[in-house]
Subunit: 354 residues, 2 copies
């Protein structure tokens, strides 16, 4: 970018800056400061052995020339990509993008790049054994909703790539996790305490063969709680909502079409619960009265529309995950599990059965 042509105000050119053809390089700075490029490089990266006076001179030259290091050259020379991969089964869900924002926030601050990837069943193999984008030039990978059992986890841990898992806990892999079973228990208990007997469950990813852990754990917590209360969960009361808004809509319609529809439904994500709203309305019923609904996430729209939900601090999980990755890359890499708190937020979408 060059200086602007003329005129006043915020779009003005900065007339203080020395005229340059193209951008200043490290050589320009070295010349200006009267030192070698090596010294400039060291001064700029907080290298310990640089005289304070030298550092000052370098900084002055940097300011004057508005020098910014060419990161391509820096990465090539140092062999460090300063890039972290981010892999999730579904990039468009609120949950995923919120995690991504958190991750991006701290990574950008540390001048790292983020490489985004989806992980459906077709691509998951490629990713770990040679996907074009991930095969090289990546320092580590942040995984969301990992799609593997204990066995897969063991193999993941054996990779020589730093890995951080978000949203669940895996053996021998650093993670920022949430107790999914407990979250589902909170939701189930809440509905049981309200007096509901016919409670349905809407999850997803049943046929994707990816991202199985999260729905599996939530389903378990839910079933266990119902069972402990002596309640049945008929097969027809378990629907696949695909973790999307339209999926939630379909699932709810199916449930309401049953001979004996449930009086309450737990959705494993708020977005699915949002989709359900329309189905309830179309059936001429009222949420919170005729049908109670509980979601999972605490999406920003959950509050405004009064959705009872299991809240998880998603953005915070993303931030923490990124920090753990950075720690690992810095060599402070003991495997750690960071549990995040889950809380039930009661709002008006759940009430006593009619």
């Amino acid at each position: 970018m060059q200086a602007l042509t003329s005129g006043e105000g915020p779009w003005d050119a900065d007339s203080d800056a020395p005229a340059l053809v193209g951008r200043a390089t490290i050589d320009d700075v070295a010349r200006e400061a009267g030192v070698s490029t090596a010294t400039v490089s060291r001064a700029l990266r907080q290298h310990p052995y640089v005289a304070e006076s030298t550092r000052q001179r370098v900084m002055t030259a940097v300011e004057r020339l508005k020098y910014v290091a060419n990161s391509n050259a820096a990465r090539l020379a140092s062999g460090q990509s300063r890039t972290v991969g981010f892999i999730a089964p579904m990039l468009t869900s609120w949950y995923t993008s919120e995690l991504m924002v958190g991750v991006e926030e701290v990574l950008t601050h540390e001048r790292f790049d983020l490489l985004i990837g989806t992980a459906n069943s077709a691509s998951r193999e490629r990713i770990f054994r040679g996907d074009a984008r991930f095969q090289q030039h990546i320092d580590g990978v942040i995984l969301v909703d990992v799609f593997c059992g204990d066995d897969g986890a063991r193999r993941l841990a054996a990779l020589d790539t730093p890995i951080v898992v978000l949203g669940e806990q895996l053996q021998r892999i650093t993670s920022v996790s949430v107790d999914n079973e407990r979250g589902a228990r909170l939701a189930a208990k809440h509905l049981i305490q309200l007096g509901h007997k016919r409670i349905a469950l809407v999850g997803g990813h049943n046929d994707l063969d990816v991202a199985k852990n999260v729905p599996t754990e939530r389903a378990k917590g839910f079933r266990d709680t119902l069972q402990a209360a002596g309640l049945r969960l008929p097969a027809a009361y378990v629907q696949d909502g695909d973790f999307t808004i339209p999926g939630g809509h379909r699932a709810m319609r199916a449930l309401l079409g049953l001979p004996k529809p449930p009086s309450a439904v737990f959705f494993m994500s708020d977005e699915m619960a949002f989709g359900a709203l329309e189905a309830v309305r179309d059936a001429g019923l009222r949420v919170g009265h005729d049908v109670s609904i509980v979601g999972f996430d605490d999406h920003p729209v959950a509050g405004p529309i009064g959705l009872t939900t299991v809240r998880q601090p998603v953005r915070e999980m993303g931030r923490l995950g990124a920090r753990l990755m950075l720690d690992t890359l810095d060599g402070f890499g003991t495997v750690r599990h960071h549990p995040m708190e889950l809380t039930l937020v009661e709002r008006i979408s759940s009430g006593r059965p009619a």
Copy 2:
């Protein structure tokens, strides 16, 4: 990343690949194919003057070695950053992130990187005259909700950096735009036709001194339509909702607290309308009956909750904007304006006045 340790299934090592210490470089490929590195480079980038048989041999070697070019080296050598900047006043709104997803989609496909930036009043100057991240190593900039009048537009156009503007139309700058005035007119007309006389307006960015164009244009279309219908718009009926959910909540609460509250409100974004929902509920009123609400965007949750809104194809706008940027960078850079269609989607949040 290295091969996995052992075991079967999707986490297996690929035993066909030649053992390599580190990654294959262009030299490895050249050796394997029996050609020079220059030829490998040409073959890989669809250079016209490469014999078909040579290209085949190179490709085979690439496959065998699972070669992937080091983009840092490629960018350094070619002098092309293959990076596009994306600047918006508010990164967390649905509108902005949806645009970003669209942009990211086509940019990634073309192996371009995206550099994200916010543009509040404090930083907008820096961006164009020397922000560390944008000063260099960027091929072009995509601007959302540009914050300048005709004068600013003229200066923007004079920059030697390719620019594409999203969401509105500016003199002499390529854009993917929407007729904001018309959108607001659609909303106003709809409410007027339903019989409303007391109609309020909730916009935002009033004190940010950024992103003024969009709210200004929408306000104009709205005012003009009311005036043409002989309706007044008292100052108290114009509120700042900050383009956020909490902002919409506050604005609605203020409106409902008025001695003579409006019977209908037009929000310049769906998210603000979402925030209003809670305020309406808290006041013991019903949306679509006691108060009609119209939004702008057609956010994914608008359908499920039945929000009447002015729909704009946001993701599509992002995609198109990215393509226009790529065209510009390829030298096909005539200034063009691509208008996108706006349509009113009538749902249950708007009805006849009580």
